[in-house]
Amino acid sequence: MALKRELIQFTIVNSTDCDYNIPMFQQNVYSINATTKYSWDVTTAVLSCGTGTIIVNSVTYPLSYTATLTGLISALNALGFGFFCTETIFGSTYIYVVDDTNVYGDLDLCPSGITTTTTTTTTTAGTTTSTTTSSTTAPSTTTTSSTTTTTTDIPTTSTTSTTTTAPTTSTTTSTTTPPPTTTTTSTTTSCVGTFTLINNSGDLDISGMLIGGASVIVTSGSFPSTPATTINGTPDTSLTIPNVYGLQLTSVTSGIAGQTITVFDSLGNSQTQTISIGTNNIIFNGVDFNCITTVQIVCNAAGATTTTSTTTSTTAPPTSTTTTTSTTTAPETSTTTTTSTTTAPETSTTTTTSTTTAPETSTTTTTSTTTAPETSTTTTTSTTTAPETSTTTTTTTVAPTTTTTSTTTSTTTLLAAPLRVENTLSLDISVSDVTVNAVTATPLTGSYPIPAGENRDLTTTQFGTYSITVTFTNTITGQRITVTDSNGTSQCQTVNTSSTFTYTNCVVNGLTQVLILCEDGVC
């Protein structure tokens, strides 16, 4: 071991538009002194959903960010690859990274189709029983009337009227219904990092493993690790993932020199240590654990070649299952009982008219009217609603992100002259107009009319299935005009006198020329 003392100096230049929290003197800081620049145009990108993916080294990494450009940059930098920044060039906004080591692919923001949402709604309708009993008792009326009228002279009238009204009873019983009870339980389960310990050595025994100083949780296999065995597990659940932890293999016993152990962490970085003979604790510093890629610990035989390619186990995004259970229980019993008892007054009217007149006449009239009470009883009984239970379970599962980009560029060149009039075979037909969909097709050269002995190409903007009309003049009968459309379908009409022929359902597609052929002879 030798020592020397030196002055070491550097000039650090940040030419970007972003502040850079630079980890000086750390290896694998990819953007320092790099010149390979990857730029994504995000001018029109929608960031509102706060999720996305980016492909780095052919692996798709999920992104979760605050729905702003700054939040997206932070999420990209948190991946641990190059240093991301933004820039504006000619009004367009770009995200870029400069990195000579990693290879970057598509950036997909707010991707659709990667989220499967299954909503199961179960609603159990309550049982409603309603019984209404209405009982009306008609009044029993007894009327007794007796009238005696005696006309006398100069009557003196004294009237006493007594009315007795029976009490009216009204009873109302009301039960207030409590509001529905809603219980919402939301459970979010985050993922944990995983590791796999593959023992391909000839003679390495490992009695245990610590990650971040805590014992690991073994999910398959068991310690001690022996040759030709594999152990899978996760870090202790008290650890925060993603993070960087030390990984210690305890009591690694080797009887053969030259055996090695290689650790591939979640970012694909590898560390290899050669295991000396004897029993030792082996520590790997700075092992990155994340929720995506399994950390691999591979024990190699002496002289074995260590695989430097990172065999990341999956590209599946973190499994995040959110279960929301909402239970709405309607009030178990809602009972409204209204008892209304209306007892009509028992009316007893006694009218006593006492007329005292002249002495010779004394008339007493007694009218007694007794009305039996009108009893109206309305009983509304038992409206019982069984509890209405509404349970909504929403499970959102983020499926493995697979981004397939297929770009097909198809360029179709339309004919300059979708139609053509050939008039060299007619005797004297002169075509004065051709229309497609009632729009005149324009001759590319010359103009109408197209006399016998000439051909002329026509152009139109009417593509589709339309009627074609041909207006012509002639003097000689027994000629014909045939229209063959883009599908090769021909229609022929015989020419007698000057006229306009209409050919229906002609396909004009601009790819195959429509031929209007004027010939001698009938169809």
């Binding site: 230049v13 730029s39 145009d41």
Partner: protein, 169 residues
């Protein structure tokens, strides 16, 4: 519906984040990448840090020393830099023992370099490396490595080598 954005790849003439040795009288020193590559073979125990920029706010933010403890867990330690008043430009310094801040490639000195800014960084380091000088007489026996080798192998290849040279002149 979103459409994946395919990156445009270009090669820059100069890096946008550059760390380089400043020009020296004797020429350009070792590059930053060479320095990083030397880590592991050479371990740098830093004794004195110096950081400077054109304005004080550019270097006024906290500096952290990130390293790993014996169990391999990541540890971040704040380094309280002090203002160096005897400089023509704003500068900070931090003095420590050479066994406190050790740069191994896994450890780092982390601070923010503002957008569009330049920071000058120096440190004195005691460099420990695996090796020895051939004629080093500091071995316990007081011999150099050649003599140790001859003793170990039971030979005396260099004995009377000087007389041999004289005799044959």
């Amino acid at each position: 519906m979103s459409v994946p954005i395919t990156p445009i790849t270009t090669t820059l003439i100069a890096p946008v984040i550059s760390v380089s040795m400043p020009l020296q009288v004797t020429g350009i020193g070792a590059s930053y990448s060479q320095f990083l590559q030397s880590l592991g073979t050479y371990n740098y125990g830093a004794e004195y840090f110096y950081i400077a920029a054109s304005t004080l706010p550019e270097i006024g933010q906290p500096v952290f020393y990130n390293h790993f403890d014996a169990n391999g867990n990541s540890i971040s330690v704040f380094m309280p830099f002090a203002v160096d008043p005897y400089q023509s430009r704003p500068a900070l310094f931090y003095e420590t023992e050479s066994d406190q801040i050790i740069l191994t490639g896994l450890s780092s000195l982390q601070f923010t370099v503002y957008a569009g800014k330049t920071v000058y960084f120096k440190f004195f380091a005691t460099i420990a490396y695996i090796g020895n000088e051939l004629d080093d007489r500091n071995l316990p026996q007081g011999d150099n490595l050649f003599e140790e080798l001859e003793k170990a192998e039971g030979i005396s290849f260099f004995d009377d080598y000087c007389n041999y040279l004289i005799d044959n002149e």
